[in-house]
C-alpha cells in the first residue's frame, strides 16, 4: 500500500491529494496534501494548500500550513508562507519563511531565523570604517604613474575601436603620437615651404 508517488514537473493537480505512502512533488498542487509517509516538495515544485505528513521536506514553494508528525525541514531555496508545526522543525540557511513556528515536545532547531535582521545592522558601520583606512594608503604611494598612463591609453584605444565610425579624429592622434615622437620632432615646426627647401638642400 505504501508506494511512492511522484507529481512531475509538468503536472498540475487541482484538488486534494491524500494517501499512505510517500509523495514527491516537482510540479504544482493546488489543494491540500495529506500523506501517511514522507512529503517532499522538490526544487521547482509548488503547493498551494496545507501539507500534512510524517516528515515534510521543502525545497520549493508552499503557500499553506505544514503539519508533520515527525519533522518539518525547510531546505535552501524553500519559500514557505504559512505556519510550521512538528516535533522537529529545521530551517536551513537560505530558506524563506513567513509564519509561526510551533515545535511540540523536543527543542526546536529553528534558531537561524535571527540571522536575517541582526547582521544587517552591523555591516554598514564596519564597511564605513574600512574605506577611510584604505583610501589613505592608496594616496600615499603614487609611485606608479607609468602603469596608470598605460592603462589609460589602453582604455582610449578600446573606446576608439568601438566608436571608430563616429568619433575618430580626436582619438587617433593619441595612439600615433608616442610612436612617431622620436624620429621627427622637427616637422611640426616647419612651414609649407620648408619641405621644399629641405629637399633642395639634400639634392
Amino acid at each position: 500500500m505504501s508506494q511512492s508517488s511522484v507529481i512531475g514537473a509538468g503536472t498540475i493537480v487541482r484538488g486534494n491529494v491524500e494517501g499512505e505512502g510517500s509523495l514527491e512533488i516537482f510540479g504544482r498542487v493546488e489543494g491540500d496534501v495529506s500523506m501517511g509517509g514522507e512529503v517532499t516538495v522538490s526544487e521547482g515544485g509548488a503547493v498551494r494548500g496545507n501539507v500534512a505528513g510524517e516528515k515534510i521536506s521543502v525545497h520549493g514553494a508552499v503557500q499553506g500550513d505544514l503539519l508533520a508528525t515527525q519533522a518539518v525541514l525547510l531546505e535552501r531555496g524553500a519559500k514557505v508562507v504559512g505556519d510550521l508545526s512538528a516535533p522537529r522543525v529545521g530551517i536551513a540557511n537560505g530558506a524563506l519563511v513567513r509564519g509561526t513556528v510551533r515545535t511540540e515536545g523536543e527543542p526546536a532547531l529553528a534558531a537561524p531565523n535571527k540571522r536575517v535582521a541582526a547582521p544587517a545592522v552591523f555591516k554598514p558601520s564596519a564597511f564605513a570604517a574600512k574605506p577611510v583606512a584604505k583610501a589613505e594608503p592608496k594616496l600615499a604611494p603614487p609611485v606608479e604613474p607609468d602603469d596608470e598612463d598605460d592603462e589609460d591609453e589602453e582604455d582610449d584605444y578600446d573606446y576608439d575601436q568601438q566608436r571608430e565610425a563616429a568619433v575618430m579624429p580626436p582619438a587617433r592622434p593619441k595612439e600615433k603620437e608616442p610612436e612617431r615622437r622620436p624620429p621627427p620632432p622637427v616637422l611640426p615646426s616647419l612651414g609649407k615651404g620648408a619641405k621644399a627647401k629641405k629637399k633642395k638642400h639634400r639634392d
Binding site: 511512492s4 511522484v6 512531475g8 509538468g10 486534494n16 509523495l23
Partner: protein, 104 residues
C-alpha cells in the same frame, strides 16, 4: 520512470493536468488530462474523464476516454464510458461498456 506517478495508496480528488507521461496506480476522482501517454495501472480505481495522447487501461475506469493516437484496454482492465480514438483495442479478458467513436 514516468514523469508523474500516482502511486498505490494515493488518492486524488480533483483535476490533474500534465504535459508528461502520467501513470495512475492509485485512486483518482475528477479529471485527468495529459498531452503525453496515460497509463492506468491494474490496481487503480479511476472515476474521471481521461484525455491523453494514448491511454492504456489495466485497472477500473469509469469515465470517457479521448486520445488522438490510441486507447488500449488490457486484460483485466475494466472501462465504463465512451471511447474516442483513432485506434482502439480491447484485450481478451477485458471488460468494456460504452460507445466507440473512431472517426470513421
Amino acid at each position: 520512470m514516468a514523469g508523474t506517478v500516482i502511486g498505490e495508496g494515493l488518492s486524488i480528488e480533483g483535476d490533474v493536468t500534465s504535459d508528461e507521461e502520467v501513470v495512475v496506480q492509485g485512486n483518482l476522482r475528477g479529471k485527468l488530462t495529459s498531452t503525453d501517454a496515460v497509463s492506468i495501472g491494474p490496481s487503480s480505481v479511476v472515476q474521471a474523464d481521461i484525455s491523453g495522447q494514448s491511454v492504456s487501461i489495466a485497472g477500473q475506469v469509469v469515465g470517457d476516454i479521448t486520445a488522438p493516437e490510441r486507447v488500449d484496454i488490457q486484460a483485466g482492465g475494466r472501462l465504463v464510458g465512451d471511447v474516442k480514438a483513432a485506434r482502439f483495442t480491447i484485450a481478451d479478458g477485458a471488460s468494456f461498456k460504452g460507445a466507440v467513436d473512431m472517426e470513421v
